[in-house]
Amino acid sequence: MNDKKREPARWIIARELRECTETVMEGEGESQKENFITPLGTRGRRILFCGKITSKTEENEMTKLAVSDSTGAFYVSFFPKDFNQAVKEQIDLVNQDDTVIVMGKTSFYKTDEGRMYVNINPESIRIIDEDSSQYWMSRSAFLLKRRILGIKELKKNPDSTESSLVSLGFTEDEASAMVQSSSLYSSYDIARMEEILMEISASKVSESTSELKDKIFEIIKARNGLGGVTYDEIAREMKIDMQSTQEMDQALTLLLEEGEIFESSRRKYKTV
């Protein structure tokens, strides 16, 4: 699909970017560019991420933002120039606590101790809703999980090649970066990122709870005209055992938090 080659925007969580200590040169001659490459096989210069702005400061003409995605922070610096006035307008519109989506180019600074700091020069920044942020996190975690499986495969079978990874279902782009990453970070402990991934998964509402939430909402909505519906009535209609209502409680809490329902009296619910 990518005939007119555009530099892809890598969806990457803050923690993975923080683990990065290596860069590689890509391309030839004048078009050669320095790309970051992470221990989990993400390689590129442009990234796309979502998160909450935890700080916004302006010094002289430069605007600095810290954007947190729950696994860590991305650091964004912006200098207004003639060619990026559209981005300046976008930056001026965002403030602390806004949830934003940012696409930007990375630049790197390496310390003598081998630590690497990544700065992001934004190409676009816009306020988004929580659902969109959740979608970004879910897709980024999915892509990370794929790469973790690929890197594990490379560790298990050191003779694996790009084509053997492709035959397992990875894209050529994924396979090439994973093989390169695996040789650069041969002693990296992948378990650290697996833990992060598990934390992300645990924070997501399970599929079944989401479905339960929709069903409960429909039950409450149907009885709205009758003064609402009690907790016990919902459980009866849903055929839920009163000894195991944990998931139903979670679904009700979500509906209350999202403002879809309210308690008209104790343990009795109506839709808003």
């Binding site: 555009r6 988004i128 659902d131 892509l143 599929e207």
Partner: protein, 363 residues
């Protein structure tokens, strides 16, 4: 030494010095440029009672014809495009047999999204709709052709049936439909040897989400999600001639200067879902709901729409959140181009579908 006769179903790996007894089903010819200059080779299909396999003949006697049965020895198999293919060269021997041979046709099953003209005859399953009947003349006789849209969970494709009316609104399995590319889109044709049977299918109206990395096939009804990462500079308000609907760069249509103008919107953008990105274009119908741009707003003669306001509504509607796009992929000289039919904001229902597809991969 001649080897034992192998059946086609036994040809599953790369090997040499094979002997087969087969019926040639089709032969085509192609020119190739080699280091020694131009050369001609043949390719086609051959079959036996156990199956059908494609062949390439770098060299073949001119007397070899389709529909004849041969014992062919000293040929070999190799993988091409991930499929086993049989090859003939100068050492291959052909012996014409004076007998008939039953051929078992086997066709690989494809989801509509995964169809590929590397396989010209395929098996598909889906639900047919939008039946249209038209007539055509062949050898002085009037014949009917029935046209449908076939839909499965991954996409839609036009299907034509010559002479046979097919069941509409329920599941069908079509074995041996011919796939080709027409006007930039894939289409399927059934013919006398195509087998059609009723099957029970659970296909919802809503197609399942595809990853952008997998959108390679020019078919319709494809649904993707993602964020718009760049919006085309010229996206926004445009004017058309009221008479001929042509897009105008000037204030008047050169052919209908008195007709006046009407307003329309058109956008083009790049969408990214983490697995890849693609270029998309969309018209008024696709973006009206998400941007809040109504036909009344565009046609208000007292207060014509403003370019800046339109651009601002497009930005607010499309650039501030994840979106879901339903549309058609078309093959162009530059590759696949995607036309959006409907763009919506990604809601919790869409999100759950996406998560469920992601989780299936690790199940």
């Amino acid at each position: 030494m001649e080897s034992a006769i192998k059946k086609i179903e036994e040809l599953v790996k790369e090997e040499t010095n094979i002997t087969i007894k087969v019926k040639i089903l089709s032969i085509s010819q192609k020119e190739a440029n080699t280091q020694k200059g131009k050369s001609v080779y043949h390719y086609g299909l051959l079959g036996d009672p156990t199956g059908v396999i494609p062949f390439t003949a770098w060299s073949m006697p001119t007397t070899v014809r389709d529909k004849d049965v041969y014992q062919i020895s000293k040929c070999y198999t190799k993988k091409f495009n991930e499929k086993i293919r049989i090859y003939f060269d100068q050492g291959t021997e052909f012996k014409l047999l004076p007998e008939e041979l039953e051929v078992k046709r086997t066709y690989r099953y494809y989801s509509i999204r995964d169809l590929n003209t590397n396989d010209k005859y395929v098996t598909v399953e889906g639900i047919l709709s939008n039946e249209k009947e038209r007539e055509y003349e062949k050898e002085g006789q009037k014949k009917a052709i029935y046209q449908y849209i076939m839909r499965d969970q991954t996409g839609t494709i036009p299907l034509s049936s010559f002479g046979t009316k097919l069941p509409v609104g329920k599941g069908v399995r079509i074995e041996g439909a011919k796939l080709d590319l027409f006007n930039g889109y894939y289409r399927l044709n059934t013919y006398e040897k195509t087998a059609i049977e009723d099957v029970n299918l659970k296909i919802t109206e809503d197609p399942e989400y595809s990853y952008i990395k997998d959108v390679k096939t020019p078919v319709g009804g494809i649904k993707v999600s993602g964020f718009i990462i760049s919006l085309g500079e010229k996206s926004g308000l445009l004017t058309r001639c009221r008479e001929c609907n042509t897009k105008l760069d000037d204030l008047r249509c050169a052919d209908h200067p008195e007709a006046g103008v009407k307003y329309d919107v058109f956008i083009y953008f790049t969408v990214d879902d983490g697995t890849g990105y693609m270029q998309v274009n969309a018209g008024f119908d696709a973006i009206s709901e998400i941007t809040g741009i109504t036909s009344e707003y565009l046609s208000d003669e007292k207060m014509p729409p403003l370019k800046k306001e339109i651009r601002s509504r497009i930005d607010r509607g499309l650039m501030h959140g994840a979106i879901s796009i339903n549309g058609n992929a078309r093959m162009t000289e530059q590759g696949i181009s995607f036309k959006a039919m409907k763009i919506e904001r990604l809601d919790q229902k869409n999100y759950r579908q996406i998560v469920s597809i992601q989780e299936e991969e690790f199940a």
